[in-house]
Structures are given as C-alpha cells and as structure tokens.
Symmetry: none
Subunit: 204 residues, 4 copies
DNA sequence: TTTTAACCGAGACGGTACGTCACGTCTTGTG
DNA sequence: CACAAGACGTGACGTACCGTCTCGGTTAAAA
C-alpha cells in the first residue's frame, strides 16, 4: 500500500455514487433482468464507458450497488414483551421486503448467484442491520426473565430470516399477521424456551 | 370441450421429453441465465419453432422441465427414532442439493424470480417429493409415542426446507452433519414437542 | 450447383437492393469513413442484423453496393471531330465525378483498398460504360481519316481515366476546360497520331 | 507577430521524429484505417496528449509523417539516352511502390480522401522528390538534342505518376518492364516530341 | 533563485460505432 | 397441421478509439 499510484486523471469518486444510485433505482423499477447498463448510464448522466471502466459487467455493478446501499434503518422497538417485540420486528422487516425494496431484493438475489460475496454480505447486513435492535430486544427479555441468559439467540436469527425470505421469494406464500404470530408462537418462542431449559428436560 | 381439432399432423409427444431433458442438462451446465433456447434446440435435435409452439418462452419451458424432472427419489428410511429419520432425510436432501443439482438448483432459483409459477411448482415439488416419505416417518413416530398425533408436522415442513435452502444458496454457509443435528435437536424436535404439549402448558 | 439448399425462410432479395441503395445514398452524403452501418439500417428500414447476415462488414457492403450501382449513362456524342468528341466525353465524365457522385467515387476508392475485386470492377465499369461510346467515336474518326485504323485506342483508355482520377482525387488539382484541352491536344491526340505513323518514323 | 510566447518548458522536438516514425511503421503494418493514435503513442513511448498537442487529429499526423518521410531516395541515373533514363526512373519508382511501401502508399491514398492537404502534400512530395533527378535527366536530353528546350516536361510529370498510381492501386493491373516500355515509347516520348515540334506542324 | 507557464505521462471522461448474441416472431418447403 | 431451417426486427451486450480533460510532476526561460 501507500505509494498509491497517483498517475493519470483520478477517477471521479462521486460518479460511483451517482451510478450506483441510478442502478438501485432501476433495479427497483424494472428488476434485475430488464435493467440495462445503457439505461443506468442514461439515468446517471454518465457514459457507458465510464461504467465499464469501473465494473466488469452488470452483475458486478449491481453487486456493488446493493452492497453500498444501506437499506434497513430499523426503528427502535419496545412493546413490553418478547413476543410483541419479535412480532413487530418481523412485521417491519416483511413490510420492507414486500414494498419498494421488493424488486431490489429480488435483484439482489439474482446478483447473489453471480457473486457469492455479495450474498454473504447481504445475509450479514440483514443480521447486522437487525443485530443491534435484536440485541436490545433480547437483553430486555432476559432482564424481564422471559428467557434465560443462555437462550439460543443465534438460532432465532438463523430461522426467522430464512423462513421469511423463503416464503416471500421462493414459495411465494403470503406472510401476513397470522403467519408471523404462528412463527413466533410455534417456532421462535419454543426454540428459545427449549434452549433455556434444555439441560434439564432434554436427554440426548 | 374436447372435440379437440384433430386435424393435421399430431404433435410428436416424445419431443417434449427430449426437449425438457436437453433443457435440464443445459441448466446444470451453464445455469439459467446463460441457457439459450437455441442451444436447447440444438441439443434436442429439434427446431426452435417446435419449442416455441409448445412453450411461451424460456421461463415456461424451464418451469415444465423442472416440474417433470423428478429430482428426489428419496430412499425409504427407518432408523428407529424420529430424530434419526429426520437427520437422514435432511442429510439426503442436502446431499442432492449440493452435488450435481447445485447448478440446476441455482438456475431454478433464478427462474423463480421471473416466473412465480415456476417457483410455486418448485416449492410444491420439493414438498410433494418429500411428502410421502415424511408422512411415513411421522406416522411411525406417532405410533412409537415420540410425538402426539396433533403435532405440527406442517410447521416442520415450513422450516426445514427454508433454513437449508437459505443457508446453501443465500448465506452460503455450509450445511454439515453438525448443523443438521443442531437443526433437528434445537429447532425441529422442540417445535414438535411444543405443539404436542401446547394445549397444556402454554397460556397465551 | 442447383440442389440449392431450399431450407428455411428464404432471404428477401428485395432487401439487398434497398440496403445497397441506402448505402450509396449515404456514401454520397457523408463519405465512406463517416458512413455507419447503423445509419444504413435506419435509412433502409432494415435491422442491423439483416445487414450483418448478408455482409461481413462495412467494406463488403460498400463493395457490393458500388458494384451493383450503375453510375454512368453516357449520352451519345458526335461533334464532328475527334478532338471535339474527346473533349466532350472527358468533360462529361469529369462533371459526373465532381458532382453528386464525387463522394461516392471517393467512397468507392476507399472500398477498393479492402476489396481488390471491387477496384478491378470499378476500373472495368469505367472503361465498359464508356466503351461503347468510345468505340463509336473512334470508328467515326477512322472513317473521317483523322486517325489510322491501327491507332492505339487502348492507350488512350489507359491514360485519360488515370490522369483525371489522379488529378481529382489525389493531387486535388482542378480539372477545367483548359486542362481537358491540354490533355487532348498535347497528350491524347499526339499519342494517337504517333501510333498511326509509328511504323514509319519510330525506330526502336 | 512573433513575440511567440517563449515561456514554459519548450517542446521536445525530438519527439516529433519518434512519433512520425512510429506512425509510418504502423501505417505500413496495418494501413490507415486500422491505425490508432493509441497504438502510435504506445509504440513511440509517448503519451496520447503529446500527440494531440502537436497535431489536430489522425489525418494531420499522418500528413506530416508522410511529408517528412523521405520515401524516394532516387539514385543518380545516367543511361546515356532519355528513353533509358525514363525507363530506369519509372522502374525504380514502381519498385518502391510495390515493395515495403505498398501498404504505406495505400494508407496514404486512403488518408488523402479525408485530408486533401495530405494528398496535395503527397503529390507534391512525389513530384519534388523526383524533381531534381528528373531535371538532370531532361537537361542532359536537351543537351544531347533528343528533345527541344521547350519540350513539355511538366506534361510528362502529369502523366507518368498518374498512370502508374492508377494501375497499381486502382485497376490493380501489374506494371512490368513491358508496360513501362510501352508507356515511355508510346506515350511519354511522343508527347515530348510533339511539344517539341508543335509550333511547326500542328495547326489548330 | 524563485517564479511561471508550458510540457509530459497517465489515464478518466463523454461519445459513437463496432460486430455479436439471443430473443421471440415470421415465412418458406417438406412429410 | 407439424416440423426443420433459418430470415427478420429488436435491443442489449461488451469492446475499441476518438478527441478532450484533469491530474501530479518536470523543465527551462524570465523575473
């Protein structure tokens, strides 16, 4: 590092932003498959060559665009019970996925195929984005004595996003209030209380 | 209905098979995006028009091809315990997904974006394919008294495929023996035993 | 020949004409270098792929276009003297080259570099197109006794086009009435009269 | 005029040479159309801006390059007769055009279309380069009494290059010993002797 | 000696056209 | 009719150069 080849006209970094922004917008509007580099260039007021100078192809552009696009600002949540908090979190998440960002999400999934790093990133960002909120929720639940301190929180984070994503984007079943309650009551809470008490009842 | 214009040369039904077979092969080899109808036609020794006469477009062809392609010939399973059976089933499923059919699976998922019907089909075929096997497994578990007759079997079928697919194709985390045991012990079995006893302990 | 693969939709031959016509027009308007296939396609109301299906590239298209384009319909000439006829013929030719067809001619020359066959063709067409007219002119001159029957007519056809083309397109000197007379009086006629009398005076 | 801002670092004149040399080489190798400024810069170990600082565009660069490229180092010639000298001169010229410089020449001609200045330059350089040699040849011929002092030497210089260039690069007919003799005997010498005696015999 | 302005390299930039590819539709002749 | 073959309009792909521009850094004459 650090001699940092300072040769030639430097790339205008602001263009990255404009381009990726345009890409994200189009992703939302027409989806990944029908998004064309030419359209991105047009919208970003940038020449096609500038795009191809920076990214090898469409997939890589979308990958970076999605990567840099922070798409979840979870509001702080505190309903008083773990059950209420979980339902609220999931509801919020689902709303995001289903609305404006749905197309984007689908595009993202497409990009994921090409770029595994992206999909890891995505997964992580889902967890992370939610991470801090979740931590707070779980901490309060422990304080209230709803779950034990050694409850398997990671397991919840393994299951919930998977089930929701799968339903929304693969099996195309709806995710409504009723299902969310079912998920929380019949899956997440049992899993948490199981891990809480597992040393006692469970015998394996 | 159904006088069904019996005029002119009848469609050669055998061609459907050949075409779909070619499509599946190519799906495995190059993935959905780089699969071209022209290539399918070439490999199937069939003209492009024959394909377009039968399917509206690429997505529909792939949908049908995948639908008719039985990709889970689950062997009969009986390890003596529900836990053993579940682990065996999941292990088998994962093995399929990870091996030869990996590309195909990824292709399918891609197609799912575009074609919701396909993804429904896909989801259904996964459930169906497994359905009969699962039924037997659960029946024996009930007979053995491991779970109650009103245990929430559907919930298990909602969770397991979702978690596995998500890990393999989205978060790209590995699914090994350890994780499968974790899934069965810390998620599936607790969920089943919860629903069994829920009327009694649970109060909400 | 002649089994003549009669498979598939036949090429619409009329399109060749339309395309080549458009090419010729554009050649005249903007010249070879600034003529783009895209513009040809647009003007011919034809898709780019149709052009590329028929010709390998721009040069080959222009080659064929020029080839099929008959560009000299010399009017019949009879001024009463060989000198007058020659001047008239050359004047006419020069006028064509300088006016509308000038650009075309230049384009043609460009194409010639790539395609030698074309340039041969061009040369021949110049000679041929003029051929019949010239024949008549020379025959009358012989009848009138202005030149002998064994005058070297070919030599004239070797010199005149060369000198004119060279001046117009290479040295870019003007070719006006005065120069044409100079060419006829000081070059062509002497050459013709030389060959007429060559057996007598010349000693080599 | 001509205080001529003498400020700042002066241009490195030696670079002109290197660049033009590279241009000439590439012209020979790939022809005018496929010659790119980028390639010239690369070969000359020079940056693109250095080229564009000195020449407005490709055509002008090639024009200068050709102009400064002395491609006719005609050896001194003295065969004893005008006929012999002419044949030798033309033979030499043709040899040059046909050999290594063929591509270059063709490139030049192409460039001439676009850039009239270039073609003038080219024409002039051909005449000039040959000029001195020709002068000597003609002077000796006059001294020997082969032609008169008022013989139309210019006319010869108008005809010979035109005919040769045309045959080589347009009609693609070969220029061999036989044709050269034909040109000298049946065209050039008659033209010269015509102008010599024209005031006497000719009456028009 | 310092300033100053042009030079030089590298390479980004907006363009324009290239030639290719696959789409899904259409138009033939043959079975 | 089905079918094979392949032409067709469409639209995007990724590449190659064009000629311009913007940097950091250099170089020699003018101040």
């Amino acid at each position: 590092m650090s001699i940092s080849t300072l040769l030639g006209r430097p790339r205008d970094a602001s263009r990255d932003v404009v381009i990726e922004k345009a890409a994200i917008e189009l992703l939302r509007e027409v989806g990944y498959e029908r998004l064309s580099i030419e359209a991105v260039a047009l919208r970003a007021q940038v020449s096609k060559s500038t795009i191809y100078r920076r990214w090898k192809n469409k997939a890589e552009l979308i990958a970076d665009a999605v990567h840099h696009y922070a798409f979840c600002k979870m509001p702080s949540i505190d309903s008083g019970t773990l059950r209420g908090d979980l339902i609220e979190i999931i509801t919020e998440k689902v709303k995001t996925m289903k609305s404006a960002d749905g197309q984007l999400f689908a595009g993202l999934m497409a990009a994921s195929r090409t770029d595994n790093d992206l999909s890891d990133l995505l997964t992580k960002s889902m967890a992370d984005g939610a991470g801090s909120v979740h931590s707070a929720v779980f901490e309060r639940a422990i304080e209230r004595g709803e779950i034990s301190a050694n409850a398997s929180l990671e397991t919840v984070l393994e299951i919930a996003p998977a089930v929701i994503t799968y339903r929304l984007f693969m099996s195309h079943q709806n995710v409504n209030r009723k299902f969310i309650e079912h998920l929380v009551d019949d899956v997440l809470l049992p899993v948490l209380s199981h891990s809480t008490t597992s040393p006692l009842i469970q015998s394996k």
